[in-house]
């Protein structure tokens, strides 16, 4: 169950299972492509994303009559290559997404483990804290805090982590408090295992798969939040690149240069869509109950089809 990629054989079975669901497979493939794009941005990008050229401003994409092969997706208001900016933008987006998710998950998991393991008063205080923070007006507070710390990639990561750890805490705490009542965990505690051993040997393994799934699902939220905050001018700042930022700076040129807003926006849509497709499949696959349902549905569909022919 889950995503065991430690050895070759499970990987192959994972891939073959994924292949059954074409949409998820495509999503996964696109996801991998975007990651590769981000990793190899310096090699792939035809130009430096920050290089300006006053003579090459607002050139349309190659298929337009005025376009040229020098700039496949055209250039922006400073003559920067749109394609290169999108490729480099993937880096910013993925970095912010991954780092934020990992930090938020670490905070959430730690607090969730603690709450679930200690139970009682600690548990209720921590969960109350989660409830309270969930009710904070999200983006508004982010904007406020950014106003204080000054905008930038690291501010954004810090703020998004601090405002997104709650889901992980809830998930982990739920699993921990239910697993603790399992006979084998109770047994381990009775024979005097240290709490740390109980946590690491008995509890954590149960958490890996749901946590991973949640992480991937949450990732898209972070991507969208980063884009929105950058769009509002409170996120990533030039000369750094970000898709949300590029949409914002292309906004003034919407009317004469549609490609400035369209392409970075499409990049966001494609990224989020492909991750969602894959994550949905993963969620079902890693949940035995959902798996059964899916299996039942496939069988039913097959039967229906057979009957029809």
């Amino acid at each position: 169950m889950g995503l065991p990629m430690m050895s070759f054989r499970p990987l192959r079975s994972f891939l073959s299972e994924l292949w059954q669901d074409k949409a998820a497979a495509i999503g996964f493939a696109v996801m991998v492509l975007i990651v590769l794009m981000a990793v190899f941005a310096p090699v792939l990008a035809p130009e430096d994303p920050a290089t300006q050229s006053l003579l090459q401003r607002l050139k349309p994409p190659v298929w337009d009559a005025r376009g040229s092969w020098d700039h496949l997706l055209g250039t922006d208001n400073l003559g920067r290559d749109v394609l290169s900016r999108i490729i480099w933008g993937a880096r910013t987006t993925l970095t912010i997404g991954i780092v934020t998710c990992v930090i938020a998950a670490m905070i959430g998991t730690t607090l969730g483990l603690w709450a679930g393991f200690m139970g009682g008063r600690t548990d209720s205080v921590l969960m109350r804290l989660v409830d309270i923070q969930v009710s904070f007006p999200g983006i508004l507070l982010i904007l406020l805090v950014v106003g204080v710390l000054g905008p930038g990639v690291w501010t954004l990561i810090a703020v998004l982590s601090v405002t997104n750890w709650m889901v992980y805490a809830r998930l982990v705490r739920g699993i921990v408090s239910s697993t603790r009542q399992m006979p084998y965990v109770e047994a381990a505690e009775v024979i005097g295992c240290r709490p740390s051993r109980v946590i690491f040997v008995h509890l954590l393994p149960n958490l890996v798969s749901p946590l991973l799934t949640l992480l991937i699902l949450e990732f898209t939220n972070i991507v969208l939040a980063e884009a929105a905050v950058s769009f509002l001018g409170f996120g990533v700042q030039p000369p750094d690149t970000s898709w949300g930022l590029d949409v914002a700076s292309g906004r003034d040129y919407l009317f004469i240069a549609w490609w400035l807003v369209t392409f970075p926006g499409l990049a966001i849509v494609v990224t989020v869509l492909s991750i969602n497709l894959f994550a949905n499949w993963l969620r079902v696959t890693s949940d035995p109950e959902e798996r059964e349902k899916r299996f039942a549905r496939t069988i039913a569909a097959k039967r229906r089809r057979r009957r029809a022919t």
């Binding site: 006053l54 003579l55 401003r57 000054g150 700042q237 030039p238 000369p239 003034d252 004469i256």
Partner: protein, 495 residues
């Protein structure tokens, strides 16, 4: 049948576009999109562009300007006379009435002056009127305005002081329902959405052609443009140069703003005059004008003083573009690889970030290690005017509302000026002397000398005199003004 359908669809379209495009022969209405909503309609308290753009049509001042900037009498009947060092005398126009029927008299002027300078009101416009100390009525239509010291530019200052009805200011709602003497009268203000004015049929200068005008508040240039293209607006402000070819009509006029970098003359790298000279020589200003502004800006002629302002030194040379010389100077100064931090902001002025980034790229070519810091606006203001260390180079688009060199001089060249980055006492002495010099020629000579000094020492890197560009619908006919005021009575609609 067909005409009926046509008429129906036309009225439907009018409904959809909230009736804005459906002009008729009897009443002419236009819609103007401006960048920001007024924070108040009180004409004397704030220094607020949105407020000004609207109140310029409701209120008038003693002095006015022609569209190309020449100072002429407004509510004053003739040019004022300086009767002694600290007194200017104004004769007032006869028969002028406020919109509420109160006659405009010397007492109205006295009330208006005293209200602006009353410390209790804490007016943000005080900086325009810093020299004004009081006013007294001589007779019904003659008024003396007193200054604390000799003030040669008082008439220019009075162009900025809107005349209110003191009685109404005390009892009425000046902030919400303005009452002036101007060609348009306040009608309605739906906060957050729009504001409407109607023509003043009893205006002393004759009734204006356009019957009513609706202002919409649209902060984004792109959105304003979309609205113009969609037929919702008749006039939009701050059109980007790129769009001049897309809009139905546009008009450009040299504006009040000059973009400039102020150099820190006491900073490690920029204290060397050679480095500062190199920074001025390394920029290809003309290709920036062509590439960035599509020609709608002019290269500043050796100084950041507005060319339309009194005191502009027209004999200065342009800084040439000479990259090799710049590189050599940096080499000579031993500054190769030394850090230069360029500070700026984004979104406040036309193409500010673009100018900053392009100039920083030029400077990087000289061999300096240039880094750019685009700061959030409050942080930027602190860098520009705070008490901390002066930046190596900081960008500003300076605006000269009084069209007098005193602004650029006191603000950027005078060592005590808020945005100044030098500590040159000679320069400061010249500026102080010019400020109280009532002899026009002597004053001009002092400014010429100060500008020559600043030019030779490269205290600043002047860039461009920016042009204001307005987008207009097909039916509009209007020549915009140098002082960037949107005077609706000067607009006409052709249909």
């Amino acid at each position: 049948m067909t005409s009926k359908v046509l008429a129906m669809s036309a009225s439907l379209a009018a409904l959809v576009l909230s009736g804005l495009t459906a002009g008729s022969a009897t009443a002419q209405s236009i819609t103007i999109a401006i960048g920001s909503e007024p924070s108040t309609l009180d004409p004397q308290l704030r220094d607020d562009g949105g407020e000004r753009q609207i109140n310029d049509n409701i209120y008038e001042a003693l002095m006015a300007r022609t569209p190309d900037g020449e100072l002429i009498p407004g509510l004053a009947a003739e040019a004022p006379v300086q009767i002694d060092d600290t007194t200017w005398q104004f004769k007032l126009r006869e028969g002028v009435m406020f919109h509420n029927g109160t006659p405009f008299t010397a007492e109205s002027v006295v009330g208006s002056v005293l209200r602006v300078i009353d410390p209790a009101n804490n007016s943000e416009q005080l900086s325009y009127f810093s020299s004004v100390s009081g006013a007294e009525a001589v007779d019904e239509l003659t008024v003396n305005i007193k200054t604390s010291g000799p003030d040669p530019i008082l008439p220019s200052r009075m162009y900025w002081m809107k005349m209110i009805d003191p009685g109404y200011a005390a009892e009425g709602d000046l902030a919400g329902v303005p009452v002036g003497t101007g060609p348009y009268m306040f009608d309605a203000w739906n906060r957050g959405a729009d504001l409407t004015l109607v023509v003043n049929p009893d205006y002393w200068g004759g009734e204006a052609q356009i019957d009513d005008v609706t202002y919409r508040f649209v902060p984004e240039a792109g959105t304003r443009l979309s609205g113009l293209m969609a037929g919702e607006f008749d006039v939009i402000t701050n059109l980007l140069p790129e769009f001049t070819t897309s809009v139905p009509k546009f008009a450009a006029v040299p504006g009040l703003e000059t973009s400039v970098f102020v150099l820190g003359t006491d900073n490690e790298v920029t204290q060397d005059p050679k480095v500062r000279e190199a920074l001025n020589l390394a920029i290809d200003r003309q290709s920036m004008v062509d590439g960035l502004f599509m020609g709608y800006a002019t290269v500043a002629k050796g100084s950041h003083v507005n060319p339309a302002a009194f005191g502009f030194n027209e004999t200065l040379d342009y800084y040439p573009y000479d990259l090799d010389r710049a590189k050599a100077l940096i080499e000579e100064a031993g500054a190769v690889g030394k850090p230069l931090v360029v500070i700026g902001e984004s979104g406040r002025w036309l193409k500010d970030r673009e100018q900053i980034e392009v100039v920083a790229a030029y400077w990087a070519e000289t061999g300096l290690d240039v880094s750019t810091e685009i700061q959030e606006f409050s942080q930027y203001l602190d860098s520009l005017m705070g008490s901390g260390p002066r930046p190596d180079a900081i960008f500003i688009a300076n605006s000269n509302e009084l069209l007098d060199a005193d602004r650029e001089m006191s603000y950027i060249y005078h060592m005590d000026g808020a945005a100044a980055s030098n500590s040159d006492a000679d320069m400061a002495a010249m500026i102080d002397a010019a400020r109280v010099e009532t002899d026009v020629d002597k004053r001009k000579a002092l400014y010429d000398e100060a500008q020559q000094l600043g030019h030779d020492l490269n205290f600043t890197v002047p860039l461009f005199n920016l042009e204001d560009i307005y987008g207009m619908s097909e039916r509009m006919d209007w020549q915009p003004r140098t002082d960037a005021k949107l005077i609706v009575s000067e607009m006409t609609v052709t249909e």
